[in-house]
Amino acid sequence: DVKVTQSSRYLVKRTGEKVFLECVQDMDHENMFWYRQDPGLGLRLIYFSYDVKMKEKGDIPEGYSVSREKKERFSLILESASTNQTSMYLCASSLTQPGQETQYFGPGTRLLVL
């Protein structure tokens, strides 16, 4: 079974704080992804990585950065948290092989920025 874990289920931070969200997968997947989910907007891709130290911007990268120093770990960083970054953050991982593109998600981190 693929397991994707996220460092926190719930987080409360103050405006201007630097926030780190960590994601770890145990299936040797090449690809890792960070999404946010907001009501009526579905899942929006923030950043993804298809290899160690590689990163690609998704649809809404502004205000975020990422780090992938090891294959199993992908971190999302909010440099200076703002109230409009209050959301559910979801991490996912996948293989690259054709027919194996399914992304497997972690349980999510609900972030509240006050």
């Binding site: 907007l41 579905g42 690609e56 996912a92 690259t96 593109e101 992304q103 999510g108």
Partner: protein, 115 residues
Amino acid sequence: DQQVKQNSPSLSVQEGRISILNCDYTNSMFDYFLWYKKYPAEGPTFLISISSIKDKNEDGRFTVFLNKSAKHLSLHIVPSQPGDSAVYFCAAKSGYGGATNKLIFGTGTLLAVQP
């Protein structure tokens, strides 16, 4: 520009009946489609997928149909059960490898199955 659209935000169905969830896409380069189910406060879980070389894929109570000419796919759940109540997302991708590995998600449809 929304490349994957789920035009019904919600759907209510009686237990035992068929649930049909719809998804439209605009990018003719999409070659792989997936459906995910999401309960509140949990991550999405993979349900079923279909390659563009097929027009139907079935897994137990779940069947996905793909109509490439109409750029439309649908998920059928038969029979529907109260435990199927969740938000359903369709997703699509094109190509393999590198920066093409990302999925494009729709906005989701909330399915409520009434006992």
